[in-house]
Amino acid sequence: MEKEQRIAWEAQCIQEEPPACSTTCPLHVDVRQFMKEMAEGDVNEAYKVLRKNLPFVGILGRICTHPCETKCRRGEVGGALAIGSLERFCVEHYGSPDRVKLLPRKSKTVAVVGGDVAGLVAAHDLRKKGYGVTLLEPGNHLGQSFRKFSEDLLPDSVIEEELGALKDMKVDVRFGATLDAAAFEALCTEFDAVFVDRTSSECASLPLEKDNDGLIGVDPITGGTSCPGVFAGGKEGEVPIMLAADGRKGALSIERFLQQAHMTIGRENDGPYETRLYTNLEGIAPLDRVRCADPDVGYTLGEAVQEATRCIQCECMECVKVCQYLAHYKKYPKKYIRQFFNNEKVLLGAAHSSNQTINSCTNCGLCAEVCPNDLHMGEVCLEGRHAMLQGNYMPPSAHEFALQDMEFSTSDEFVTCRHQPGTQQSAYLYFPSCQLSATAPAEVLESYRLLCENLSGGVGILLGCCGAPAYWSGREALFRETLKTLRQQWQAMGKPEVITACCTCQSVFSEHLPDIPIKPLWQVLENNALIDNACREKDAGKTIAVVDPCSSRYDPEIQNGVRRILGNLGFTLEELPLSGELAECCGYGGLVFNANPKLDNAIVTRRAGENERDYLAYCAMCRDKFVNVGKRTAHLIELLFPSVAGNDPWARGWISWSERRKNRRRVKDELLVNLGETVEHTVESYEKIVLHIDSELLRTLDSRRILESDLRQVVFHAEQTCKRLRHNQSGMFRANHKMGNTTFWVDYAPEDEGYRIHNAYCHRMNVTGVK
């Protein structure tokens, strides 16, 4: 991940942007956190939150005109939070202010001219930062604008107490100061910077350029005046909180000026601004503002807590809400991106958890669909996988099994490319997909027969794999190689229109082989009236839930077409919580089933429980994965070809990886037989071994990704070499054999013509010596 890319991705995730209340607050109080503390009844912590951003918090907390409330998102569902009243409650409840903690004293000094709100805040902020501050007030009172409130709202004693902080902070306050040109000249020499509070009328006479209103002219971003080092803010008639914001702006500018930092960079968000945070209010029940029982007294603690509880705690998290993977690792994309980047560039792949995390995304794209800025974590993770391969720290076991399965599907065992029997050209090319051939071989053959009989111009067939596993695992070269082969095969067939029965193939072709015309089988069947709407008569009226595969996300035509077909067959349809453009992945995507079987299982198990109806899938992997966790699920192709022997869509159980390979071989063999070709297989000696395995053990071994051919090879090897252990009582053998990166162990005993398998397991670690 390059730095620019990281920054661009990070910028897309706005989860860390502050909520509207904070960005509307001129001093950016963390209202959300304040509400959280208040909701917990922790008034002291809530006070600390206010104090962080509000100077003279006892004053501003009482009299702020709370512009934040105008933008509070709760306002759209009930009524805006009573932010002003709660702040008042909090500061009244807390009592006397604590001492302000100062940074170590700096050598630079600042003069603040005029002691109304802007000047007070500037003096407070600068002194807090460690500068020496002298406050020159022409009159004999500070905080004129504070003194216009009734004693009820803001008691004098509170003003005195809060402003007393300046004395504690060792701000040198001088009353009755003369403000003429000469005095000003002297100030500019004596102090390193000056802030002028324009609220005080005496300041108008200072020798600084004026604006159209006769006020000291200031730069809108910095508050800088015509004289370098002199800043100004405040304006008669403004509300105190805006005056305070002006004072803060001046203090920030002076700090930058004294540090010789850039004056304007990154100051877009100094005052109130529009937040980029997105918060979805869907499903949030409206709640009206909590009224105080006695308006004269204000909120009681109970009422205040209740009111604060109405805060939505605005945040985005749209993607995390819908993606089990993102939720599983307990972060949100901006954090993931940072973590991946650090793992790659700083730790060079040593962070175990990042490697796992990057390999656990299904690449389904749901996040991009719900994200206000379309951030696609699948792309981030894919890039992460490329980096892992390049940096040589991709865990070898992460995708090995899936890639071996793909290797099978792109080998002679399965690959076939032929014109329709008896023809020499193809107007169409049926590409049923490796996974559908693996799970529904008879239906694949039957659908091919139907296409051949009904479409004119010849329907060729291409058995193979679209290369999705290579793509998902980050094996770019292999993926490109696979695409190249597909293109060549398509060209050799005369560039026919491709018909596929797999949404993943469809999307791989559309995206990576865009010049190859491709259509889903379902559409072709429907358009050519090849669906017998009465074929599911006995199921008519059955209610089922449709499972859209994640790869159908951007193809509403397929999604609607499938629903139409099902409706015409007489089914009543229910929708899963997320479907259509929000379709979820079954866990096969991104090869998560291989890299993180636990998460994969959790995903499919949760999804299986989302609707009690039988499911109907139109992706082979979806069908098999739901069935694998015990959910009755049929594949669309099974509904359409009821004449196929043994076709009982919802009753068909799980299918092993070994069987999947057998089925692919079967599709190829039968096709070749139909073409009148002789089918020849070189059968290895070990393949002739007969195994007896009970069904439960078969499942266990399948989940360990141990194939029957693995078992045969171990037994064969042990029988040949006699290198094996023998159990004294039972006579059972235990033998091992290393194949590829894996050592397989098998417990077995001769039985009838063949061998009974009692158990098998495997490991990747190698025995290198015995002492």
Binding site: G349, A350, A351, H352, N355, Q356, Y393, P395, P396, S397, A398, R704, C722, K723, R724, L725, R726, H727, N728, Q729, F733, R734, N736, T743, W745, N759, Y761, C762, H763, R764, M765, N766, V767, T768, G769, V770, K771
Partner: protein
Amino acid sequence: MKFSEEEIQNWKCETCGEGLVMRKVEFSYMKGSFHAELPACPKCGLVLITEELAMGKMAEAEKALEDK
């Protein structure tokens, strides 16, 4: 890694006809290597790795080494 006496005594190396004894076995995977006391044939060195060991400790170690 513990082995019950029984587990060890139950097995015999077929080729050598020997019972198993505890031996120091060296393992390697990726860039890591380590050793463990495991039952093995005293003559030919055929090692016994149990299901528990393979699916437990060894699998964990493999994961750890893969992500290093």
